[in-house]
């Protein structure tokens, strides 16, 4: 009963989000995000109708559609990277490279595990794939957030909501998937409930944050030539060197 309520609540939030995106014309501004919501809504609605008509339909289509929404979730992460750092080309480049490195390392680690495995099962493999993709998403989100904190980048309400909502869903999914693989099938009920609840929470955050268009505050207009950056780095390095040698002198005394 509770899982059914969560399912319906999730669909209601998704529908609201889609309606508001059309009303406020934000669909084109956050294209990948709304494409994800559209896919999730379509899948949820189709599975809901399919389940009430015939149980085998649901069983046959659950894992393939789960895979599709997982893949679309990566698009949301890319949207977050793009939107959060759009006005800061340097920081954006930094995030893109760091994210690629995170993705490559995690992917290699997962591949190495898959190659070593002797047994194969579709459900288990999809759950593991979901867990590994969630790890990548979590690490990329954490990288973006580290850059946002480090460079003190101001985010608008829309992007903050996107990050908090999706991050909460990914964080809870990852934690529960890890626990599920450890505890086993007796954790399945709790796992399904927690995952649905975290998605409903994320969808509620998105609905509030994306109710109206609120872009990131624009950075100050400034000179961005390459010589400027070189001079800045040179100057900062020289300052650091000076302070370092002075502190070394104090420590020796």
């Amino acid at each position: 009963m509770l899982s059914l309520l969560l399912w319906l609540a999730g669909m209601m939030f998704e529908f609201l989000l889609l309606v508001r995106s059309v009303q406020t014309k934000t669909f084109t501004k956050y294209f990948y995000f709304y494409a994800y919501i559209l896919v999730v809504f379509t899948v949820s609605a189709a599975l809901f109708i399919g389940r009430s008509l015939s149980s085998p339909f649901y069983d046959a289509w659950y894992w393939p559609t789960q895979f599709a929404t997982l893949a679309m979730g990566c698009g949301v992460v890319l949207e977050i990277v793009r939107q959060a750092l759009a006005a800061y080309p340097g920081a954006e480049r930094f995030a893109r490279r760091a994210s690629c490195a995170v993705f490559a390392v995690t992917f290699c680690y997962v591949e190495w595990h898959v190659v070593r495995r002797t047994e194969w099962s579709t459900a288990a493999a999809t759950v593991e794939l979901e867990r590994d993709l969630r790890v990548i998403e979590a690490l990329v989100l954490a990288t973006v957030l580290a850059i946002v904190f480090y460079y003190r980048i101001e985010l608008g309400r829309n992007v903050t909501g996107m990050i908090v909502g999706f991050g909460a869903y990914v964080g809870v999914s990852l934690t529960t998937l890890a626990l599920r693989s450890f505890v086993g099938p007796r954790f399945d009920t709790a796992w399904a409930l927690l995952q649905s609840a975290s998605f409903v929470f994320g969808a509620a955050v998105w609905t509030v944050a994306l109710w109206s268009y609120s872009p990131n505050p624009a950075p100050p207009p400034t000179e961005r030539n390459d010589a400027g950056y070189d001079a800045l780095v040179h100057g900062t390095r020289a300052q650091l060197q000076s302070v370092r040698s002075s502190l070394r002198g104090v420590a020796r005394s």
Partner: protein, 194 residues
């Protein structure tokens, strides 16, 4: 088991970072002019407030202590040492604060550059972190050895101040050269130790 712990760590870590993001107060969007003024202010604080030759000499010179030792009773010497220690610690705290200001300036400006270099930024971040840690270590040293346990600070810091300020002038020059030039002319002979 190790895998489980790693996954849990990533998941819970992300939730903690999100909580910090949700709690973060909206930092003002700093304009170029404001950054310039703040950086200039940090530089002037280092020049005038923290590193003038006579101030540093006064804080770390043993002469005052010798005089108090010779002229007054032991209690006064003890009190004098406590006060000097307090002042020297306060001084290190302020230097640390100014290093942080310069760091903020660098970050505030570099984030806007398309040419921003990942290895350079990582190295600089490491350098800033090490320097801030060094300041902390210095505080421990002063706490443990007292204000006169860091006697060579005067000469070294005075020399370093010149280099810090010269480098900062260079770093700020590209932001607003005419304004900087007028600052430089106005600040000549202001009594700083450089």
């Amino acid at each position: 088991m190790i895998g489980l712990l790693l996954y849990l760590l990533v998941g819970i870590g992300l939730l903690v970072v999100l909580w910090l993001l949700a709690r973060r107060e909206g930092a003002p969007v700093e304009g170029c002019g404001r950054q310039f003024v703040e950086a200039r202010q940090a530089l002037r604080t280092l020049q005038l407030g923290l590193l003038p030759e006579n101030l540093i000499e006064r804080i770390f010179d043993r002469e005052d202590f010798r005089y108090v030792m010779a002229a007054g009773p032991g209690e006064i010497s003890e009190l004098f040492l406590q006060e000097r220690k307090r002042i020297s610690l306060m001084w290190v705290r302020r230097v640390r604060c100014e290093i942080r200001n310069l760091m903020q300036f660098h970050l505030g400006y570099s984030r806007l550059h398309a040419k921003l270099s990942l290895p350079t930024e990582i190295r600089l971040a490491l350098d800033f972190t090490l320097l801030l840690l060094a300041c902390r270590a210095l505080r421990i040293l002063l706490n443990a050895r007292g204000p006169y346990g860091a006697g060579a600070v005067v000469g070294v810091m005075t020399a370093a101040a010149g280099r810090v300020c010269a480098a900062s002038e260079k770093s700020l020059a590209f932001l607003n050269p005419p304004a900087l030039e007028s600052f430089r002319r106005n600040s000549a002979g202001d009594g700083a130790a450089i």
